[in-house]
């Protein structure tokens, strides 16, 4: 009987339990916000990695040809850019020292973006709802006539506000990664091709920028 009495079997008081509980809750909440912010960061880093892989692959492919084969001349075959819709259709022909002709073709068809308001008469007159379309981007590069297609990475998509328009009840598809800007120039014997990307989380930071002197 005396042996049992000497054991510590008092347990914890209500205050002790409460303090411990509050501490655990505080730690859990702070951990949750930290972990969720890292999860978001990890997702963005994943997007970056996909863009980098694509950008590096295409940049290296084109620059390898320009440097190893040598660029003799370049000609912009067509360059159409719609400043209202942001659509672009551009192609360039590059003649190498070995006589081979390489072509780069950029096609950018954009759905009306996040800021399109179907109730804004001015906007509707500039961007008629029935002329809307799904986002479609494609870059092709290779020997002219046999270009290889390089579809830009799929980083997710959403729909615009053009409900029941030509794309269907949900509106037109807006890709998360879009071609934002296309520029091709040949000035002072320098070729410059710029294809800028846009992503809601990464902005316009990433793009393909090719620069090469002509007949250097």
């Amino acid at each position: 009987m005396s042996k049992i009495k000497k054991l510590n079997n008092k347990g914890m008081t209500a205050v002790e339990v409460l303090v411990c509980f509050v501490l655990v809750v505080i730690i859990s909440v702070s951990m949750y916000t930290t972990v969720s912010s890292y999860q978001n960061k990890q997702q963005i880093e994943g997007f970056k990695e996909k863009i980098f892989t694509y950008k590096n692959l295409l940049t290296k492919e084109i620059n390898d040809d320009l440097i190893k084969d040598g660029l003799v001349s370049a000609k912009i075959l067509n360059f159409n850019r719609n400043n209202v819709t942001g659509d672009a259709d551009a192609s360039i022909e590059m003649v190498m020292r070995n006589g081979q002709k390489k072509c780069l073709i950029v096609k950018s068809n954009k759905a009306y973006d996040y800021f399109w308001d179907p109730y804004d008469a001015d906007m509707v007159s500039k961007l008629p709802p029935n002329e809307d379309k799904n986002d479609e981007f494609l870059i092709s590069y290779g020997v002219c006539g046999e270009e290889t297609e390089y579809p830009i990475p799929d980083l997710g998509e959403s729909y615009n506000a053009n409900l029941g328009g030509p794309c269907g009840a949900n509106g037109c598809v807006i890709k998360d990664l879009r071609i934002n800007n296309v520029d091709m120039t040949i000035e002072n014997s320098l070729l410059n091709i710029y294809i800028g990307f846009y992503h809601p989380d990464l902005g316009t930071r990433y793009g393909i920028d090719i620069v090469c002197p002509v007949n250097f």
């Binding site: 042996k3 940049t59 000035e187 002072n188 902005g203 316009t204 930071r205 920028d209 620069v211 002197p213």
Partner: protein, 208 residues
């Protein structure tokens, strides 16, 4: 009776709290030391990116071109002597390359266009005249050890460039291509409303 002498009281709340606070402090110190590493990784994203590397390659090709005549201050012996911090009269440890060092007009025009299109950081001194361009193209010795010490001691270049130089190896062994110079370029990327600096380097093989 012997068992009754065992200490079986457990911890009091204050003891637990003190230990908890101690552990939290250690974790906080660890976190504070670990977190800047992530920032460092983000900064390094602009070091030697693919656009910068190819742009610097073309700068190197322009410097190596036969029509480019480097001035006396870019002479390799002068640059090596300039790295001697004990004697400031011996000049600088680097020289800045600009398009006016090129002999032919067509190449000069191409060089200016290259600087413009690759967005090499450039102080035009507020004039529209491209001949006033002062691009941030540093030409120094292939081995960066002395240049790094020189910059650490004397400053005179941007903080970003200093960070980039610290990130680079010293290149203590001779170049396999027998290059004696090294070019280090600072870019100021502003296309599509961007606003950040980037850095890249390449070895340069130029006859003295």
């Amino acid at each position: 009776m012997k068992k009754g002498k065992l200490n079986n009281k457990g911890f009091v709340l204050v003891e637990t709290l003190i230990v908890s606070v101690f552990i939290v402090s250690i974790l906080a110190v660890l976190y504070n030391n670990f977190y800047p590493l992530m920032g460092e990784y983000e900064k390094r994203e602009v070091f030697d990116d693919i656009d910068g590397k190819y742009a610097t390659y073309w700068v190197k090709r322009v410097i190596q071109h036969e029509s480019t005549i480097l001035p006396a201050e870019c002479d390799l012996t002068r640059l090596t002597e300039g790295c001697d911090l004990s004697d400031p009269s011996k000049g600088l440890c680097y020289c800045k390359f600009n398009c006016e060092m090129i002999g032919t007009e067509s190449m000069k025009a191409m060089c200016h266009q290259l600087i413009k299109k690759t967005q090499i950081k450039n102080d035009t001194r507020g004039t529209a005249d491209v001949s006033d361009d002062i691009p941030e193209i540093y030409l120094t010795t292939y081995n960066l050890e002395k240049f790094k010490n020189y910059v650490d001691e004397k400053g005179g270049i941007s903080g970003g460039m200093q960070r980039y130089l610290k990130f680079l190896p010293n290149y203590r062994w001779d170049s396999l291509n027998n290059a004696k110079y090294r070019v280090v370029v600072e870019f100021y990327r502003t296309k599509d409303d961007n606003d950040y600096l980037a850095y890249s380097t390449f070895e340069v093989k130029k006859d003295e």
